[in-house]
Each structure stands twice: as structure tokens, then as C-alpha cells.
Amino acid sequence: MTETLPESTISIHLSGMALILPASLVVLSVAILLAVLFLKKKKTPSKGPSDWSIPTLDKHADRDSFFHNWNPAVKVAALLLYCFLVVSLKTLVCSAAALMISILAVYSSRLPWRRSLQRLAAMSGFLIMFLLVLPFTSREQPGEILLIFPLLPGFPFHLNGFLLALTIVVKACAIALLMEPMLATSSLSATLHGFSRIGIPSPIIQMILLSHRYIFVFHQELLRMLRSMRVRGFTARTDILTMKTMGNFFGMLFINSYDRTQKVYEAMLCRGYRGNFPAFHTLEINGKDLAKGGMWIMIGFILLFIELMPSFPSP
């Protein structure tokens, strides 16, 4: 069943039973999606509409944990640097270790798992595509194991491609999981103040702050307009009338948003706005904050260092 090809790749021709591998991937993906849907449904009261409301980012910022008691500026700087170090990892083992660290971080931050899982669910489609496409499209390498499926002889499954996809997925999950401890353990304005301390330009910070505030208003406006269209009999079809209606709808949303922007700006001017938001928080950095930051950066470097050790198996 196994033969060595002249190009020194190893091809394994699989029988029907060996379809289990890709099938299991598909099943796993579907299971993740179903789990996410189940979690969503469990929270929704019976017969009520689905809760598509936008959650507040800093809803749990008033709790008490390792991350909550950390100065946001140092926290943002240290965790961002740590994330860059995780991105530079090349092996599955170290990436898996980073994922474990992220899971521990979420656990210790005392934040609800649901929010972190929702983050993973949001990027799951993209990651699943990686897992499904990369094994079939990566370049052949010497000594690589190829799995040949009975019905797909022209599309060998590259094990190296699969490992690469898996490493990317694991790293992405590790970083996505860290976002909750990083962003949801301080009030948004404190976190953004932290971002400004590490050099993010003030206009960007203000745009994020205002976007976060008005996304809720905009979302409500959008829902109200859609609702009023529906009660007047609107059903989206694939016809000119629907396209015209949607054009009017988006046009009116744009006009309303523009109008609101003008009014908000006027209200800001009336209250002394001169291009900058005042800093509502005093962020004093103490030794403990720096020690926490140093620890995270060190963990990142240790993972990187382990990979560089000659005895460590290369990817």
C-alpha cells in the first residue's frame, strides 16, 4: 500500500476506510458550528427572536483577576508583543503550548468562556477553509507523506500542508483567546488610553471610541428600519424592486448616519472638544505591572527559543 516515489515523497494510497481523515475534519467543523449554535440557542428564550444584539466589549471590566489588576498600558504593550512572538512560532508543538497558555489566561481572567468561544466561532469559517484547502494545495517537499484518496487520485493530501494549516489554526486560536483578557478586563476608555500610551494616534483611538459607542445606536436604527419595511410587506427577493428598495434603505441609513455624525460633532464642540478626548483615567504604572509584562514577554521568548534549539525537531 505504501510506495516510495523517485522524487523521494512517500505516497500512501488509501482505501475507502481512509476517507475517515477528511471526513473527520468535516465532522469536527460541523460539530464546532453546532456547538456554537447550541450555546447561542440555549441563551435565547423560547419563541423569542435570536439575540443579535452587540455585546459591550468591557461588560466584565469590573471583576477582579490577574488581568483586571494590571495597568492597561503595560498589559496592551506586553500582550501585543507576546502575540507577535506567538505569530513567529513555526512548530505545532510550541503553537499548541501557546494555545494552552491562552486557555489558562482566559481561565484566570474570570471572563465568561462564551465570549471567547464566540470569538473563535467568528473566525472558524476562515480557519476551516485553511484546514480543508491547504493540505490539497501546498507544494510537494522531499520526504513528505502524501495520502491518495481513492476517488481523488489527482488531489493528494499533503501531510505537511495539513500540519502547516493546523499550526496556523492553533496560533490563530491562541491569539484570539488572548484578546478577551487583553481587551475586556479594563474599561474601553482605559484600554484605549493604554493603546494611546504605546503610540497609536489619537484620531484612531477617538474613532474606535465613538464607533463602539454609536454602533449600538446604528444597530438599533437599522433594526427599526428593517422592521418597518417588513410590516409593510417587504420580502427580499431576487428582483429589481428588492434591489431598488435595498438601495433606498442603505441610502437612508447613510443619510441618517451622516446627520447623526454632524449632530454628535456639534454636541462635542459645545462641550469644549478641541480635537482630543480628555484622559478619564490616571494610569499609574507600578513594579507589579512591569513584572507581569516582563513575565509575558519572557514566556513568548522562551517558546521561540525552544524552537530554535538544535535538538528540537524542525517543522
Binding site: T44, G48, M225, K263, V264, E266, M268, C270, R271, F280
Partner: protein, 547 residues
């Protein structure tokens, strides 16, 4: 009658320091619309000024010029004797705080604390001062316990008070309020009134509600077509019915019936419940009356996705041809029940339309029979012309073009908007937009018309016209409102909601006489009725004794 045409007699500012001296002020918008033309008046320190006039008369433009939000084009504004404008000192914006109509525009920071702290921090106050100011202002408006709550989670009334606190925290010399009572229930209105009565500085209030302004303001400037038509004492304004009529401010239609004293309304014997509480074999209530309701909710409850109770155990029947008013304080569940009656909120319990059980799949049938007019017309009107707006519903019903044309003509005629076919809804006045929204619903030939706060933000003239139109509509009507005068003039039956439950269901005259219910759920109109009586006496004296 214009100032320049005479007949004008200036009331002028109270004796003392002059804050604003406006001379020859004109303003033209880039689209050529002349908002103000040759305005002249003065405002003294401590004045309590009502700025009134029809929608589009230039009130908002004027206050934006006073605050320096709009640039001076022609004329002059002196503040404390100093010339202001681009070549001079800027208008001191932070000394003239404006509270805009929509509180969402003021609450641009994340939490209530940050919103209130924004102004004082920009004024350069120290952190300790800011902390103290924020706490003080939030205590004044009764929101100290919500200091760290995200702004988007506040109720409308709370948002309004938080916005006011954010202005008060800057300790403005002049407080300008644009339609402060819009969408507030009587209790919230009363709270706001007390807060404003205690404000020590100069007040400028734009509002259509003269009953609200009557006790707060001592002076009224009437604007029409961008010009000052009268500068009265507020007593003079309200006592002159001719002036009120001339400027679309005549609210006396509100007490055309019953002499304005609702105690005089006859009480009709009634049953409090429309249904017996006997259950049939299927567990559903057995109707106690022979008439079949057109819409019916039985033991109906609805929870919002976040777990908040919207309405709880509602038993309500709506009969063909009747006009039902739904009243209650802000947050009582009135709009929620309207959405339940439209099938938009699918809750637990029984919901029937003409005896047929309604569910998610069958609510399309309902939407053809129930025309909904939402509180904010901006949510409903999205087409580029009135014709398209009215045609939208019939087009979705796939009616023939000739029928659609017929319905457009008919619906616009019913709301007195003939000739408006090609007008852009966005450029129309609030009253016209509200009537257009009604026309859009009527074009679907509904059996029931459901109106959510139809009078909110309308000037008295538009309200009177709307009342006249609604009276002529021969169909089942459900009206959600705080406006007692609309309830009295339009509805046969009133249900009172409180904390998501129907606490009373009785004929409207009984509701009007039920002061206890009005008081317990924040619908106490006693104060407004007293104002009405005073104003009626003033008008009577003015008419019979020449002032």
C-alpha cells in the same frame, strides 16, 4: 404680522446685565434656504425665554448662532457687550450650554461618568473637581446610581437627564434646550420641569408645549419665517388666542371638549374585563361578549433576548371599529405590546387575529391588515419621494399599477397631502412626515391602524390637523400615547400599562376620572390641567376685558 409691519411691542429682557444683543442677524443655508432674516432682540441675565414658532421658523438656527455652532453671516451678536464672530472673540460656547432634542447625540462617551466629565475636563478642571462636579450633577438629575453604566443601556428619560447633567456640569451661564419634553412621559416631564425651575442662570427653551413653558418661562419670542414676530411676556402670548392661531401654536383645541376639566366627563358604567375567566375545553378563554375581537392576546408574555420582561400575562381584546388608547409611563411596555400585536415579538401565550391563531409563519397575513405608524418617522420613511413611499406597501402586495396609482391618490388625499407626490420626505416638516407615514400605512387598506406616540415633537397646528385626520378615519385604531388630550378626543377605551402588565382596561371617561391610576403610574396630568385652567381664564379675560 411682522415686527417691521408694526403691531410689535418688545417685551425685552429683564432689568440688569445684558447677555446677548442681537442686531440685524440673517442666515442663509448653502441650499439657499433663508433661515433667519434681520433678527433683533436682547436677552438679559436671568431671563427665562421661550423660543416658539412653527417647525422650520428658524428657532434651532438661531440658538446655534447664539452658541457659535454656525458662523455669523450677516448682523451682529454681542455677548456681555463684546462683539463676537470670526473677526472678534468667538462666542463662548461653554458658557452657553445647549441640550439638543436627541440625547443620544450628547452621550458620545462610553459611560455616564465619562459623558458628564467630558465638559469639565475640557474646561481644565482638576480630577478632584471633576469627580465632585459629576457626582453633584448626577445627584441633581437622580442618576448617581447609574454613574458607571454604559450610556446605551439607559432608558430614554434617563438619557435625557444624563445629557442635561453633562451640560450642567460645565456650569453654563445660559442653558438652551431644544424640545426638552419630546418623548417624555408626564412624570419625566415633571422631573425635568423641577430641575429647570431650580436652574439659577438664563434659560432659553425651544418647545411647542406651552403648558410646559408656562410656569418656567417669563418671556416668549415668537419666530415665523425666520423673523421675530412677537416678543411677549409668556402670559400675553398664552392669553392671546389670535396670536397663538397665527403662529400655529394654538393648543386650545385640546380643551374644546368638556371645558378642559376632565372631571366633567360623564362616567359610563362598564366591565373592567372584556373576557370571562372561564376556560373552554382547549384551555382558552371563553368570550363573555357576543362580538368577536379582531385582535386578541390571552395570557401573553414576552421576554426580550437579554431576559428582561417586556410584557407579562396580557389579556387584551381589540374589537372592530373601536379606538383603543394604550397608556403608561416610559418603559411600561406600550411599544412592546404594539410589537406583540403586530406579531413582531413572538412571545408565550395565545395571539389571535379574527379568531385564527397567529404565529411566526402566519404573521404576513397580519401585516397586510395592521398598518403601523412608528414613533420616529425616520424609521419608516426611506424612499426618495412621497409617491414611492406610499406606493411601497401596495407594490409589495403585487397590486396592478392602476390600483397602486389609485391608492396613492386616495391615501395622500386622506392625510391632506395632495400635490406632495414628488416631494422628498426628508425635506418635509415633522407634521407632514407623520401624515405621510400614515398615508403609507393607509395605502395598504388595513383594517387596523396602530400609532405609536403620534403627537411626539409635533407643533400644535400639526397636532390639530393630525387629530382631525385620525377622527375621520373609519377603522379600528390603537393609539399608544402620553397625550391625554388625544386619548380623550379619539379613544373609546383605554388600557393602562404598568411594569409590563395591563393594570386597567376601561372606557376612556373612567380613565380620565381615575386620578389614582394616573398618579401611581406617572400619568398625573393634574399640574397640566391646572395650567390649562389658568390659561383658559387668561384667554377669557383677554377676550372680554381686552387683557
Amino acid at each position: 404680522m411682522h415686527l417691521a409691519d408694526n403691531g410689535y411691542h418688545g417685551y425685552g429682557p429683564a432689568a440688569g446685565e445684558l447677555l446677548f444683543q442681537v442686531e440685524g442677524l440673517s442666515f442663509v443655508y448653502p441650499d439657499g434656504n433663508q433661515a433667519l432674516a434681520d433678527i433683533a432682540f436682547s436677552i438679559g441675565k436671568g431671563d427665562r425665554l421661550a423660543l416658539v414658532g412653527k417647525n422650520g421658523s428658524g428657532k434651532s438656527t438661531l440658538v446655534k448662532l447664539l452658541n457659535g455652532l454656525l458662523p455669523l453671516q450677516k448682523g451682529s451678536i454681542r455677548y456681555r457687550g463684546r462683539e463676537t464672530g470670526p473677526s472678534f472673540q468667538p462666542v463662548p460656547r461653554q458658557e452657553t450650554g445647549i441640550l439638543f432634542q436627541d440625547p443620544e447625540n450628547h452621550l458620545f462617551c462610553n459611560t455616564v461618568f465619562e459623558n458628564v466629565a467630558f465638559g469639565p475636563m475640557n474646561q481644565g478642571c482638576s480630577r478632584d473637581e471633576v469627580e465632585e462636579l459629576v457626582r453633584g450633577c448626577l445627584e441633581t438629575v437622580g442618576l448617581e446610581k447609574l454613574m458607571y453604566k454604559p450610556a446605551h443601556l439607559l432608558s430614554y428619560g434617563q438619557k435625557k437627564r444624563a445629557a442635561l447633567a453633562s451640560i450642567l456640569a460645565m456650569k453654563p451661564e445660559v442653558l438652551i434646550l431644544d424640545e426638552p419634553t419630546a418623548n417624555l412621559d408626564p412624570r419625566q416631564e415633571r422631573i425635568l420641569q423641577e430641575l429647570l425651575a431650580g436652574f439659577p442662570g438664563t434659560l432659553i427653551i425651544i418647545d411647542h408645549d406651552l403648558l410646559f413653558l408656562y410656569d418656567i418661562c417669563d418671556r416668549a419670542i415668537v419666530l415665523a419665517d425666520g423673523r421675530v414676530h412677537h416678543d411677549f411676556s409668556i402670559r400675553e402670548l398664552v392669553s392671546s388666542q389670535d396670536s397663538l392661531k397665527e403662529h400655529g401654536l394654538d393648543f386650545t383645541f385640546r380643551f374644546a371638549c368638556c371645558g378642559g376639566r376632565h372631571e366633567n366627563t360623564p362616567i359610563v358604567p362598564h366591565h373592567h374585563h372584556h373576557l370571562s375567566h372561564d376556560h373552554g375545553r382547549n384551555g382558552v378563554h371563553v368570550p363573555a361578549v357576543a362580538r368577536e375581537p379582531i385582535l386578541e392576546l390571552q395570557h401573553f408574555s414576552y421576554q426580550y433576548p437579554d431576559g428582561t420582561t417586556g410584557v407579562s400575562d396580557i389579556n387584551l381584546a381589540v374589537y372592530p371599529g373601536e379606538t383603543l388608547a394604550i397608556v403608561g409611563e416610559n418603559g411600561a411596555g406600550k411599544s412592546t405590546i404594539a410589537k406583540c400585536l403586530l406579531g413582531l415579538n413572538q412571545g408565550d401565550g395565545y395571539f389571535y387575529y379574527k379568531g385564527e391563531k397567529m404565529d411566526r409563519r402566519r404573521r404576513q397575513i397580519l401585516w397586510r391588515q395592521v398598518g403601523m405608524v412608528f414613533q420616529n418617522t425616520a424609521d419608516q420613511l426611506f424612499c426618495p419621494s412621497c409617491r414611492e413611499e406610499v406606493a411601497f406597501g401596495p407594490q409589495q402586495m403585487k397590486l396592478p399599477a392602476i390600483e397602486i396609482e389609485k391608492r396613492i391618490e386616495e391615501a395622500l388625499h386622506r392625510v391632506q397631502l395632495e400635490g406632495y407626490e414628488s416631494r422628498i420626505p426628508l425635506n418635509m416638516s415633522g407634521g407632514e412626515r407623520k401624515r405621510l407615514a400614515i398615508a403609507a400605512a393607509l395605502s395598504m387598506h388595513p383594517e387596523i391602524l396602530l400609532l405609536d406616540e403620534p403627537t411626539a415633537s409635533l407643533d400644535p397646528e400639526s397636532q390639530e390637523l393630525l387629530l382631525e385626520i385620525l377622527k375621520k378615519l373609519d377603522m379600528t385604531k390603537i393609539i399608544i400615547t402620553h397625550d391625554m388630550y388625544f386619548i380623550r378626543d379619539l379613544s373609546d377605551r383605554t388600557i393602562v400599562m404598568h411594569q409590563g402588565k395591563v393594570i386597567r382596561d376601561y372606557p376612556t371617561p373612567d380613565f380620565l376620572a381615575d386620578r389614582h391610576v394616573q398618579a401611581v403610574n406617572g400619568l398625573d396630568y393634574t399640574y397640566k390641567n391646572n395650567c390649562l385652567e389658568k390659561i383658559m381664564d387668561l384667554q377669557h379675560n383677554h377676550l372680554h376685558h381686552g387683557g
